[in-house]
Symmetry: C2
Subunit: 306 residues, 2 copies
């Protein structure tokens, strides 16, 4: 039994709820309510928060307040507030708002990339070949996403070698870390082991993160494989914010509380206060005004009777 | 990386939805509707189904139709229909109804045992010391449960050596298998590894099953540890039937579809047809007339667009 013999002391959590979660809400959440959520996350000890996306309001009206939101949030020592930037205009907006970190986004599936950002993968790479060096020249860090690594809603299976090549390309452009996404939440542990084995044959573990969706309840089992293989950064969304457009009522993002609950009980620290994180989940639920699916969020931290 | 190097070809699923799930429903489900669910489970390939409990209707009115239900279900080649028996009267009812398998139930926590079955652990063991040999003499098989192994709602942490001693006692009485339960859904992977290591130092893996609750989303991560350590039988409830009395809206039992989805995608067969199992989940939802929490149940088996 060597499964859990090499666990790390600490793991880094990259919180995507304010961006990945709120962009999928049917009703737009107001800026003040978004600020309340982000402040609650920071108060809980989250040090990496993706707060919005500098995408055209035409495409994602839910995040049309990106500039205002970013300007209202004070920079804080030890906290990285990031935002997605699909193009150079987005980068300029992020720079003007004072951001020190941005993220770029590609899909391992050609069809998903076109449907999602209206560009071919090659066209997107060409944009990022300008964007990433420009961001670096402004002193910003750039994170890269490669999505649909575990499967695509249009193409089905995706060749992991394609995801590897894109991850390498983004790293070569200057991204400090690549987050590999199971966008559909279809991944299972043997597949995860196979994908990570390929990735880790070419990329150092500290350059990779996992962004697993819990749509079919598999996220933490996949995280466990990642942990055992050396991955030390995991994306999650508070209370499981972020639905799945193909299945109303189904969950999407892995809930941050479920992930942190597992890690802390395994003796792995995250720098997060789980009680305060649970409070942040209540804030998330209050601002979106619907029940959120996170398991710990729903059940609470303890089961003591009386 | 030796995590998934010794996966089995097949795993046995023990379905507890009709008993463990329906006994927790606020509104009693009628016998005909229960029969529909059990038939749907059998049609999906479930070969081990715990259908009811021969407990006093005074304690669990939801299962007051146990005798009638058991008599209405025809015996089928290759399908084991079981029921919980708390005492000799229960065993007599099970025998009269023609059952070939029953189950007995103990808690590793003294307080939980008293609150749950109104007996001390020693008193319960004394009852089973009569019940199990009597069942065997009637040609029945007897399964044993040890619950609250991962934690107790009244006592908090539970010494796993106590659970081990009780499992050994039930095996010595003649139980063919012991199902270890995380009744509260508080367990996490390192704890699971520690508990199973102790259990497997004294008991053969093929005598053990795991009964994990998904209350905090940890069930499949714990199952993965069990798989890697040689456990080959897992309990689950269709669509996640069975709530948690301490947190309304929270999930309890691991959903059978989530478990089977993971296993099949790992190349492990269960004898179950996942599409038909998903249909059985729709039946479960229809008969309890409320939304059930299973992830695959909610999201569906595929995420293909258009």
């Amino acid at each position: 039994m060597t499964l859990l013999d090499h666990l790390p002391d600490t793991v880094s959590i990259y919180e995507v709820g304010p961006r990945d979660g709120l962009q999928n809400e049917a009703a737009t959440v107001g800026t003040v309510r978004k600020l309340r959520l982000i402040e609650a996350l920071i108060a809980a000890g989250c040090t990496r928060v993706e707060m919005t996306s500098f995408v055209s309001p035409h495409w994602i009206p839910q995040l049309a307040d990106a500039d205002n939101l970013a300007q209202l949030l004070e920079a804080r020592e030890g906290v990285s507030l990031s935002a997605l930037c699909p193009n150079l205009q987005g980068l300029e907006r992020a720079r003007a708002a004072g951001l020190r970190e941005v993220a770029v986004f590609l899909s391992a599936s050609e069809t998903h990339n076109r449907r999602n950002i209206n560009k071919s993968v090659d066209e997107a790479v060409a944009v990022f070949a300008e964007l990433v060096p420009q961001a670096l020249s402004h002193g910003m860090r750039v994170r890269g996403y490669v999505s649909t690594v575990w499967g695509c809603p249009y193409e089905g299976d995706v060749d992991p070698r394609r995801a590897l090549a894109l991850a390498q390309r983004l790293l070569a452009l200057g991204c400090y870390e690549i987050s590999l996404g199971d966008t559909l939440g279809v991944g299972t542990p043997v597949q995860t082991q196979r994908i990570l084995k390929l990735m880790l044959s070419e990329i150092a573990a500290d350059k990779l993160a996992m962004h697993m969706h819990d749509t079919r309840g598999q996220a933490l089992a996949n995280v466990l494989i990642g942990l055992a293989m050396g991955i030390r950064t995991f994306d999650a969304a508070i209370a499981g914010l972020g639905g799945c457009p193909y299945a109303p009522g189904a969950s999407g993002n892995l809930a941050t509380e479920d992930l942190v609950y597992m890690l802390h009980h395994m003796g792995i620290s995250t720098g997060i206060d789980l009680e305060k994180l649970w409070d942040a989940g209540r804030v998330a639920e209050a601002i979106v005004r619907r029940e959120l699916p996170g398991r710990v969020h729903r059940a609470g931290l303890r089961s003591l009777a009386g």
